[in-house]
Amino acid sequence: MIRNLKNDPSTRTVRSRVFYSIAVLVGGAAIIYLAFALSTLILPVLLGIVAAYICQPLLSLMYRNGISRGTSTLILFGGFLIILLLLGRYVIGLVPGEFEQLELRASIQQNINDRYQNYMGLDDDLHNGNVVHDFAGPELDPLMDTFNEWLFLSESNQEKLREWAALQDEQTRSRIHHLLDRMTALRLYADPEILLSERISFIEEDPGEEENGEDGSLLLSVLNILSLWLVMPVMFLFFLVDNGQMRRGIVAIVPNTYFEMVLTVMENVDQAIGNYLRGTLIETLLMTATIWILLAVIGFDLGISFILGLISGIANAIPIFGMFIGVGICIIYALMLNDVTALIPWVTVENLILWVVAVHLLAQGIDNAVFKPFVLGKAVALHPIVVFLGAIVGSILFGFAGLLFAIPAIVILKEITGTFYHQLKAYFLIY
């Protein structure tokens, strides 16, 4: 019986096809399930892999210059950890504490309202405005009210801030009292007769829970986030150490008919992805530097400009939406400023938002005219509608990680399907 089975090529072919089809279906389903079940791990895992991918040429360069593969890997891993630690320390240092956050919220609210009233030419009663207000006020007033509701501090938070202010110096105390007084005096733009505080019904937090949150859950959540992000250096090391073993493992299960074709496809895709990722990295660095310099020119602090430039540069890797993320974050920071000393004489706190937008438009112009054509070439020849839909679907499915990696994923998928199609034809496997 066994001999018959062994010597019957037709049933063996059928069995092979059934086996491989089931393996692909089960494997595919498992990958999709894991992607959703472990979605919080996607961003650190992918960033680790991308970093390793980008570092591969450096590894080869070091190896060519006589440094052993093991030593090169250790040097790169050490460098990666140091950069992560330094960046993490710097960013954590910039994150305000609980009371500073509350003050910041009140301060942003005051600045936004001041500027809105200024742009709209509103009088003290909020009844009469300029031409812009006559035109856009009916649309923007309710929006501002919603925004104010969102920023408004609850009774307990106001009390907390007052208690904290009592322990600070006179200047801080008076600043915070002034902010809180103005907050409680805010009126609705849509109906200036009504106080904002009357419109808002807060669900007061359970003090016990809040206390617990400060001491326990906050620490736990920070630890959770840290433990999640520990995956990133692990993935980086894992993929850096890999010397073709993964490819060998994949090729080992490929049927003979597809052997050479799969090797060629993997090589072509590998090159295309490598070029795309390295191109994107260079573009990101160039955009970071450009926005950093331009923001510093319009009066932003040099350190903050760097962080904002870096965020905007990374966000720029997301087509269409990326620029809005960068502009949005820079505008939020601009709204926090009460004073600005720019290299350009025309920049004031009142028109700073417009300058921020101008900076990003200029950076985008430089990116499209200079960086993209020289660095990326035609690596990302995707139709704008594909980019748009891809980014939306990615963000719906996997949140921020989906938004960030949707376009690279589409580029990779396009490269794989395109190369596969051409190779299948070249190897006479399809017509």
């Binding site: 060519r64 080992a252 003979n256 052997f259 050479e260 060629t264 190779q423 070249a426 190897y427």
Partner: protein, 175 residues
């Protein structure tokens, strides 16, 4: 005594998998040490080359590659026999150009470019092969140019010898 013959040390702590991997490495090196294009290489260099090789197993009558397919890899026969042939069409029967056995290699032009295969290679018996991929050799040229240069030199010599042999056969046919 070579490395694989060394005593394993404390059996409780000895790494079984590591020892298996080393044995496999040694066996691969032994398989390629007599291949003409690798004959100038040291054991250490052969180990580097052996890490680039892919194991393939073919049933009797199974095609390894077909005429006109783009070439991407060269194959070394570790066991079995392979028939190099021109496939007939219609009533024309297949023409066997050569039958190769253990230690022989074929498809070497694919290491130079992706031009179409000039003949079909088919396993005449159950056959085990080692494949070396062109892109891996290209990377070897970047990372280990001394090893790659010696392989390429031997490759040129082998291709030259085969060309001379073909010329002789053509001359014999024309007389």
């Amino acid at each position: 005594m070579n490395r694989s013959d060394k005593p394993a040390g404390n059996p409780l702590w000895s790494n079984v998998f590591q020892s298996l991997i080393k044995q496999k490495d040694q066996s691969r090196i032994n398989q390629i040490v007599d291949i003409p294009i690798f004959q100038d290489l040291s054991r250490r260099e052969l180990r580097t080359v052996s890490e680039m090789l892919y194991d393939r197993s073919y049933e009797s009558g199974e095609d390894i590659f077909l005429t006109d397919q783009p070439g991407a890899a060269m194959f070394i026969i570790t066991s079995g026999r392979v028939r190099i042939m021109l496939e007939g069409s219609g009533d024309t029967p297949d023409t066997t150009l050569a039958e190769l056995g253990e230690g022989d290699f074929f498809g070497e032009i694919a290491l130079l470019d992706s031009s179409p295969r000039s003949a079909t290679a088919r396993a005449a018996t159950k056959t085990e092969l080692l494949a070396i991929f062109r892109a891996d050799l290209d990377k070897l040229m970047m990372n280990e140019p001394y090893i790659a240069a010696r392989i390429m030199k031997q490759l040129a010599i082998v291709i030259g010898m085969r060309l001379k042999e073909t010329n002789k056969q053509v001359a014999g046919l024309s007389q």
